[in-house]
Subunit: 724 residues, 2 copies
Amino acid sequence: MIYIVVIAAVLSLSFAAFNYLTVKNMPEGTEKMQEIAEAIRIGANAFINYEYRILYLVVGIVAVLLAVITTWHAAVALLIGSAMSGCAGFVGMKIATYSNVRVANRARETENIGETVKVAFRGGSVMGLCVGGFALLGIFIVYMVFGIGMGQISITSASYTNMLGLSFCPFTMTLSGYALGCSMVAMFNRVGGGIYTKAADMGADLVGKTEAHIPEDDPRNPATIADNVGDNVGDVAGLGSDLLESYVGSISSGIILAYHMFSKSVAEGTGMDSVLLNKLILFPLVFVSVGLIASCLGIASLLFKKKMSDDPHKDLDGSTYLASGVTIILGLLISYFMFVEFESASLKTILGFSCGWLSAWIAAAIGVIAGVVIGILAEFYTSADFKPTRILAQASLEGAALTITQGLALGMKSCMAPCLVLGAGIILSYQAAGMYGVAMAAMGMLSFVTATVSVDTYGPISDNAGGIAEMSLLNPNVRRITDTLDSVGNTTAAIGKGFAIGSGALAALALMISYQYSYNDFNSELILNLMEPMTLAGAIIGGALPFLFSGMLIDAVAKAARKMVSEVRRQFREIPGILEGKAKPDYKTCIEISSKGAIGEMKVPSMLAIVVPVACGFVFGPEFVGGILIGSTICSIMIAIFAGNAGGAWDNGKKYIESGHIAGFGKGSPAHDAAVIGDTVGDPLKDTVGPCLDIFIKIMSTVSLVAVAVFAEHNLVDLISRLF
Amino acid sequence: MIYIVVIAAVLSLSFAAFNYLTVKNMPEGTEKMQEIAEAIRIGANAFINYEYRILYLVVGIVAVLLAVITTWHAAVALLIGSAMSGCAGFVGMKIATYSNVRVANRARETENIGETVKVAFRGGSVMGLCVGGFALLGIFIVYMVFGIGMGQISITSASYTNMLGLSFCPFTMTLSGYALGCSMVAMFNRVGGGIYTKAADMGADLVGKTEAHIPEDDPRNPATIADNVGDNVGDVAGLGSDLLESYVGSISSGIILAYHMFSKSVAEGTGMDSVLLNKLILFPLVFVSVGLIASCLGIASLLFKKKMSDDPHKDLDGSTYLASGVTIILGLLISYFMFVEFESASLKTILGFSCGWLSAWIAAAIGVIAGVVIGILAEFYTSADFKPTRILAQASLEGAALTITQGLALGMKSCMAPCLVLGAGIILSYQAAGMYGVAMAAMGMLSFVTATVSVDTYGPISDNAGGIAEMSLLNPNVRRITDTLDSVGNTTAAIGKGFAIGSGALAALALMISYQYSYNDFNSELILNLMEPMTLAGAIIGGALPFLFSGMLIDAVAKAARKMVSEVRRQFREIPGILEGKAKPDYKTCIEISSKGAIGEMKVPSMLAIVVPVACGFVFGPEFVGGILIGSTICSIMIAIFAGNAGGAWDNGKKYIESGHIAGFGKGSPAHDAAVIGDTVGDPLKDTVGPCLDIFIKIMSTVSLVAVAVFAEHNLVDLISRLF
């Protein structure tokens, strides 16, 4: 059954290649359009090349450390993981920089929304298909390389002693190493891309919109190409590798959990046989494989649709819902084939599966549904179709201060509903299938990630297409079409963000549980006890960590944005005729400022998530790290929801005013100025802080999971207490 | 030794009465001054009377419920607690409304900073002394009423069966009830006062400063009297009852913890005798009593000082440091007398006191030091003498958006340092004296609260004095003196806020530990296990609670402020000659808007903290509530620090620009406008959200502590699982 994984991966990657070539062979449009697209492409490639050089240097160092301190298996898996994630991000971004201009051109040639949507979605689907395809391909390679495929897991091989004389479970180490590789790429792509895109965006807006009063994407603004580059490196490559790592995290935590929970009872011979164990370990892999196949189906259903509806949102939603629905149905089938042979009563007593063979499927389906509901909640809080954002837009009439205040309130209040869904999801999936069920819920939520990433990537591609249309001075009709696409993209982005946070939270919790399993020895009850002073202190300090991380990211964006502001001001001042459109601005310097700012500022926050748990582990021991994980996970979930929703609502509140919904206060009114300030404040929150936190908690959990085998035995506090 | 409690209480209250009368007998100044002071006083009295009517209605209802569902002891103690806290807030506010005008008059008569400081501090000391005096008096009364004073605690009386047939430990119930009474008053005073003061402040600023460009406290602004009333109801009465409840919470959690931890081993006769138990229970009470005496000393040292220094800050700090130093020294003496008779080895084996008789004192001293350090950290992040606030002020040059962004980053980054101090405090005090040590650290931090509240209350009194001076059109020299006092008050307020959060966090943790002791039966290990799905789900939902609460508070302030804005605009429009100073504004309507807004908006958030844990307890049981407590405590600590520091830094950043520190950008410059927006955004964060969160977590813990005896046995989830 492991071959279903490789079948799904190959299917997905072939589909991606087909779409890649199809898009690339489309015409690019006018010379001016080609020129601008070329500039964006060069900027994006240059940045990603430079970023990857630093990234792979760090990955290399970590791999060597892993090989020395833990096992070489983990190091190799880390390299495979980082290669897969790196490829997905690179290919997805590459095609996005080809698609943008072709979307604009299709709009120019056909002036038809449906046709244009298809091109944008085809481009986006490459990113989505690469995420699913490369992730599963990598897991398959890891299985092959280490021969830990199905049927070959045995408890006797459960220990490997490395050159320092430390013992490890190679199974756990390999999968964790793979997940860590994916996470590291995601972290750098998200942080670097996030700083890049928002520095350019804020810099462009602060001078362009607020001071010079020229519209967005105006070719007179020197920061505008950098802004469009940012969409590709931040919102495409960053988003793709982010969800790839969530995907891998949720799969691997499910497998590790199953292994730790049940391998003991196999060894002891207490009712559990290795056939059942293997099936439990296999289940998440098979489930995501059918999810990937379902996602291909969902994507194909849109691409090969004859008659598109008038509303792109409906078509895109249709594709996602089809993918999730088929995933649930296929999931039921595989659950039946895998678990029906075991008796319900024995599943119940041995595994705590209260619903017999249906249990694992129910837990996964709860995850799918919870993911969809959390996405809808994000839409409720951030779309101008609903009350919260409309109230926010009204507050802009009273000035910038109340716009900000009301937005903060909106973001804070919006945390509760998704957390209730998460809480309910945890309790229900636990009822169905114990802790394994919680991990399956996380896995289920992410199983159709390929479909959601395709829709998410459609957004920045459309945004870029609009920018190119504006800068190439195309017929306003073209811009009208791309604007429709873009506004749909904003909604899908909000849904996607809610989804990413929800799934990230569940995946992090599953990893945290795996961490506890790795640390608690087999004979003790599984606890993470906040009545332990070490755990309690860890939880409080851990709670402050995401705040520190977020503050550093905002600072980094603000710093780079301020440099951009100075440069744009300088160009407006020193290049004569620039504002009249007679002289060409110096786009390249702005691109360089964004690149340098992002590269310079990304290192410290990216390393924080790796260094802190390891350092704390070796000093204070595993209880402290457990506390750190729980504190930072809880606070990260909250800040990410807060940041995503407040930022999204500010953005859409501004758009609501711009489209003239509040009589007497359109573009250029004081209310609009206030709304622009809100939007600018929200930018780094929703596009840098929120998405990065999602990775932050998972990378911390994965690093802890890898390192715990060492620091559980060797830490300073232990040493001191043994000395005295 | 219980009599030291009543001696300290009587000493403190007598000193308060003496200062009250001394201040009241001072001359009030010109007729205009008297008239304005009268208006402020009437407004404040009217609000507090109306607020107390609602408050005591709610207290009455809760008391009846407590008497029916738990024990009558708890109900009576609740009434005593609410009476004590209510008195302290009322008396302190009353004298503040007498002091303000007398401070202005003293400045007018003497034109001497030192003399003026003394009057303001004398007024403030009444609040401080009432906090310490009434709190301890109440505890003494509770002891007397219920005969559970020293020597009378016995394990045989540890159970009381109420009319519903439920069993309770009257000792725990009585103390928790008392703490709950204090907490409820604090919640209403803080939330009501906080909404009142910030609605008035924001309303006055939004129209006055931003639109009409008239200075603060200008008599032409109709909201200005309401603004000054707000200082008294929010920053005096609210602050006083807030710290009173922290004080009582830390004392009672220490006592309850000692009782639960050690009474079992007395009953079992395993090495612990009742003499030692009584001493452990008595220790926190005696320690805070000597702390109160030390605080009286610190206050007297300033009031009876012959030669004041030029810098009021130094004098005020001197008084606090004297109080804390004497507390530590006297604490050492009482530890010696109480514990030296027991052998170190036996203390170590029975209690886990690693330093023998010194252990409890060391833990308390760690608390004192941690409190001082956290205060200093708050000053670092919010004072314009240091880098963070200066960078923030610089960001104002780039406009409002970057001012807000940079302030958010500052607030977020500032969470880590105080959390490190808290974490270290927890670990070290645990090392010294186990969980009892953690509770002693909380108690120690608050033991000299009378000194800190006196300094804190000095701030709003000086602020009010400045307002009266401005409105009475006194000699600018007077305003200069009160401005000096006010700016010192801003620094002390920042320190006080840091201190309140730090101590609140420790007290909440101690209460949470007591909660666990009440719920876990004597025979099981003490755990709050986040691997339990109920606890985990509770922690996630609990984490969202303070965000919801904060969002609701900000919303409430914004709503009331917007009404105020409309009213001020209306008056400027409809009353001819108002801006030329020829017509008198209608102050009364503005006062009514603030009052009504505060009263209307305070109910839901205030009740949230009481209703949520009880409702969750009866539905999901004690594990879930334990999760709620940990999640909300961690997130509340972070938001409170974030809100306090971001708000303080915006405020002082604005002042930094106003005082001309950035060349070319003074009052009225675009940079100043941006800074004013930052300050306005920060207002509800630092003065409403931050302080209320502090009470929020303690009231939740106390309510849970009271109700757990019932819902641990009777809850829906239990019922369902028993049925199936």
